[in-house]
Each structure stands twice: as C-alpha cells, then as structure tokens.
Amino acid sequence: MFTTSMLLMLIIGLVTVPLVMGAVALTRDMKLNMNWWKWTLTGLWYFLLLFCIYLDFTFMGEGEIAAAWKLLLFEGVILLILGVGLVRILLSGRSAV
C-alpha cells in the first residue's frame, strides 16, 4: 500500500525543502525579522499540527470515527489558541514598512 510505503515518507521529507524555502520567502515579504527561537516556535507549532492530523487519521483508520472528530475539535481549539499566540509573537517583531 502506497500510504504505508517508504516512498511516501520520502515524499514527506522532500516537500519539506520547498516548504521551508517558501516559509522563508513569506517571512521576508512580511518583514517578520525571524530569529532562531521564532523559527523553533513556528517549527514546533507546525509539527504539532502534523502530529494532530496523523493522530486523528489514525483513529479514523481504526474505525473510531466519532473519537477522531471529537479529538480533532479538541486539538483544533488548542492549535488555534497556540497559532494566534504564535502569530502575535511573530507580528510583534515586524519591521516598519
């Protein structure tokens, strides 16, 4: 099955390169003045997002659809709160246009 193959893992790894390049371009465009700890926080939030998606879809694969949706809602609220906090932190260091 393709979804359990190493090829999929390779694709997930490979697309990280353009993703990071795109993120760098975006932050420069928005003049966010990123530094190491801002990138770390952003990376952690993104990892959490991927982890939650992986978690919820694993539950769906197990047939625990109701649990998956409830969990997604629960995680969504947490991710949203953390995301808003992250954006506020990133925007606070923005250079004057």
Partner: protein, 522 residues
C-alpha cells in the same frame, strides 16, 4: 527595475511552492495516519493476518486464452501414478503378504508344537537383511497393471527401495545429529495424540513410542532462548517461562488419570512455558454478541500441540494445557509468574503488548530452563482508578471497589470477580456465546500501531499517574460506547456490541437473508 521584478517573481514562486508543499505534506501525513490505523499488520501482534497479504490485484492479470492446451484424450489421474499413491498400494500389498505369511507361520508353529520331535526349532535368519523390492509379479491389482504399463517406473521404484533409501539410512546414522533441530521442528508441525494417560506415561511418549534420550543443551539460558523462539514461530505472540507453583494446579481431574481424584503435582512438571495469542481484533471489538473466543483458542492450542511435540522430540517430558485440550492448572497466576502481565480488576491478565486481548496455553516440562520474572507496568494503580470494565459489565460481576485490599481467593490477595453471574450473562448472549466485553473495553487492549504503542510507553514510564488519568479520561469522553444495560437481551437491552461488527460478520452484506436486527430495537 528588471531585477526587482525578477526577485518578486522568484519569491512569489517560492511562496506558492511552499504552500503547495505544505498541502502535500499535510495530505501525506493524513494518508499515513489513515494507513497506520487501518493496517492489518497491527491487528494481531506479530502475525500478519489481514487480507492485504494477498497484495497482487489479479483482475489485471487475467489470462486472455485458455490455461491448458488439450493435446490428446483427457482422463482422470490414477492414484498409482503418484509415488505416494504407489506407496499406499505397496503397504497394502505388503500387509496382505504378511498376513498370509503369518497364517503359514501359525501352521508351521502348530507343526513344531504337535508333530516335530522335542527341541525342534525353526531356523532364525542370520545377519541384517538387504532390503529388496518385490518381484513384479508379486504385486496385484492396479499397482501390477501400472508397473506392467510403465516398467521404467518399476525400475525407479526398485532403485529407490534397494539403493537410495538404505544409503539415506546410512547417511542419517553418520550425519543425523546435525539435523536434530529441524527434525524436532518438523515433528512439531505433525499431529499430536489425545491425552488419555496420566502424566507419568503420556508426558514421556511421542506418539506410540517413548521419547528419545534427552539432548544436551549448552545451558538453561540456551534452552529458554530456543524454546521462546520456536514458540513464537508456532504462533504465539508472547511467551514467558516460570517454575510451576503446586498451588496453581487443580486439585482434582488430572487429564488421563483414571479416577480423576486428588493428586500431587507430578515431579517432572518443573517448568512451565506460558504463551498467548490475541483474538482477531475486529471481531473481538464486536463483543459480546458478535465475538468469539474460538479463534485465539484454536491458535494457542495449535501452538501448544506443536511445542509439546517439539520438546518431546528433543527428549524431554512435556504436557500441553490448552483451551481445546483442557488444562490441569489455573492460568492467571502462571501468566503473572511468567512475567507476561499483571492481573487486572476484571480478573484476567493485562499484558503490555495486547492488553487483555489474548488467550493462553501452557506446556509443562522437565527441561531445565531459565525463568522470567514477574513484571509491573502499573496495572494495579491503573485499575484502582479506571473502573471502565466494572462500569460496562452487563452482569455487574466486576467490583467497583477502590482497592483490592481484603479480597482473598484461596489465600491469595488479588482482584476477584463474580464468576457465576458472569457465566450467567454468557448464557444470555447471542452469536458464538460468551462475553469478553471487559477484555476489549480495557484501555490496554489496543492495536499494535504507533499511537497505542506511544500511549503504552508513556503510561508505563509515568510515575505520577497523570498519563493514566489522561488516558482513562480520553477513553470515557471521546469514545462512544453503549451503556452496560444495552448489551442485555431485549426488552431490557438490545444485544448491543462494543463496536459495530466488521462487514465480514454482517449477514446482510453477503447472504440473501433479511434477519431481524435486535440492535436497532426491532
């Protein structure tokens, strides 16, 4: 100006590519998660019993023409055409000849006894006889017809009997020791006898013969290592070894004993190999009314029969104790002693691998083994606060007590349940009968995928109990499960199942029938 425009384009491209890459990554992770949850290889411990073992789509390989070309008059195969078929005819022929010979012998004996002078003796054959293949005309029936038709095959069979097989016997005498373990392994996959004699006899017999002389192991550690490996190969998902405490043997009803009265633990039951096999996960989640114990019972029994024969083939006494052959012992404390798990509130053992979802078998032996130690991965603490099994039990047979202090079963303190009310509920359930609800409702009984492996790891490594509480809370809040009464028969309940049965257990999916569905309140 041109440079600036070029920069803008490059940056826009990077941003767009990044956005697409993020989309691909999120989608891929979702797909991987879906696969991790539904992957059949996570269903049964080490075994891969899902339908994706047949992974080639044969519909794309369908042959355009006919699979066989007819080049003559077609006919059915004669049994004598196969060497195995000829063997069986030959055996029959030999038996007939032997019977005739015995008849002649009886006549001769009568003559010696009644007619010959005193001291008259028959001449004994001297020296080992060279095996000889019977003359063609000594055969009869289909075998004779076949050999007459195919004399070249007669010659080949003759060479096999007179040259090849004696040479093999010689080779076996010379090199046989080198192949000892594969012999034992091959024996193990063969049939095993019913237990009809007491341990002093049956445990030392391999088929009709006595077990061979014991083979020397380098050390008990080597013996344990080998036995654990082969027990896994025989189908067990988890294996542990311990010494047998006499208190764990039933006091009466020893299998094979004539009077089935009280007995002492046989001397040669020094060690016991305990092993388990999980139920098929989709059906066990459909309990109590759409599940069965039979699948794991059968698998653990087969593993026990194989292991017993294997140990006997190595020259040691062995007796199996399994669901389909019967037990002479109580399972739970042996599993605890052998380090397979801890006893839970629901009275059965919880393992770190498959929780309570497993069925067990044992083999007792006199082979010196290195034993395992009991384990503690926090089940006692978990069970004191969890109580999910007690809440869901349709017969309310599981205690809601905050602690098992004061519980006393034959002098031992541990969680105890009301076995009789539990058994009475079995008799009310539909399908293959029984319940198993506590087994599957236990938060430890989860599949072997990354998610549950992570949860188990976090739980066992957390001394604060926070993970315990978190997992129990999640189980209660996120998972929709029928209430205890819903599992009862109508009108009090609706024959509910813990989870919907898989499609391969649904009658309406495959059979042209329209049965009443009590789960929908019909």
């Amino acid at each position: 100006m041109k440079d600036k425009k070029s920069n803008l384009t490059r940056r826009s491209f990077l941003k767009a590519t990044g956005a697409v890459a993020a989309g691909i990554q999120i989608g891929a992770v979702a797909g991987a998660g879906l696969a991790a949850g539904s992957d059949p290889s996570t269903l049964t411990g080490w075994q891969h019993l899902g339908d994706n073992t047949q992974f080639v789509d044969r519909s794309k390989l369908v042959l355009k023409g006919k699979p066989y070309t007819i080049v003559g008059e077609t006919r059915r195969c004669e049994y004598v055409e196969s060497p195995f078929g000829r063997n069986s005819y030959m055996m029959r022929n030999m038996m007939e000849q032997r019977r005739e010979k015995m008849k002649r012998q009886e006549i001769e004996d009568d003559y010696v006894r009644d007619v010959a002078p005193e001291g008259g003796q028959r001449a004994e054959p001297s020296g080992p006889q060279k095996p000889s293949f019977p003359e063609l005309n000594s055969f009869s029936g289909p075998l004779l017809d076949f050999y007459k038709k195919f004399p070249e095959i007669y010659e080949l069979d003759k060479i096999r009997t007179e040259s090849i097989m004696p040479k093999r016997s010689e080779d076996l005498k010379k090199y046989g020791d080198y192949y000892t373990l594969i012999d034992a392994w091959a024996n193990a996959w063969g049939t095993s006898e019913r237990i009809t004699e007491p341990p002093e006899i049956s445990d030392f017999k391999l088929g009709r013969r006595s077990i061979p002389d014991p083979l020397p192991f380098k050390s008990p550690k080597h013996a344990s290592e080998l036995l654990k490996k082969v027990t896994h190969h025989f189908g067990a998902s988890m294996v542990g070894i311990t010494k047998l405490n006499p208190d764990w043997c039933y006091n009466h009803s020893l299998r094979g004993s004539k009077n089935r009265g009280a007995y002492e633990k046989p001397e040669h039951w020094k060690y016991i190999i305990a092993f388990g096999v999980p139920h098929q996960w989709e059906q066990v989640q459909s309990n109590p009314n759409m599940g069965t114990s039979s699948d794991a019972y059968a698998r653990s029994t087969i593993a026990a029969r194989r292991l017993e024969t294997y140990i006997k083939s190595l020259g040691y006494a062995a007796r199996r104790h399994s669901p389909m052959d019967g037990y002479d012992l109580v399972a739970v404390p042996i599993l605890v002693d052998a380090g397979l798990g801890q006893q839970g509130r629901h009275g059965v053992v919880v393992t770190p691998e498959t929780g309570s979802n497993f069925r067990v078998a044992f083999v007792t032996t006199n082979l010196e083994l290195e034993i395992d130690k009991p384990i503690d991965f926090g089940v006692n603490e978990f069970c004191t606060t969890c109580k999910i099994c007690a809440d869901i039990c349709p017969s309310q047979s599981i205690s809601h007590a905050d602690t098992n202090e004061g519980m006393n079963t034959r002098g031992y303190n541990h969680w105890e349940i009301n076995q009789t009310s539990c058994y009475n509920y079995w008799m009310q359930s539909m399908g293959a009968m029984g319940c198993r609800l506590c087994i599957i409702a236990c938060p430890y009984s989860r599949k072997n995928n990354w998610l549950h492996a992570l949860a188990r790891k976090a739980d066992t490594g957390d001394p604060t109990g926070l993970v315990n509480d978190g997992l129990t809370w999640m189980q209660e809040k996120f998972f929709d499960t029928p209430e205890a009464a819903e599992y009862l028969p109508p009108p009090d309940g609706r024959f509910a199942t813990f989870r919907d049965p898989p499609e391969w257990l649904q009658v309406s999916k495959y059979l042209d029938m329209n049965p009443l569905d009590p789960t929908k309140g019909q």
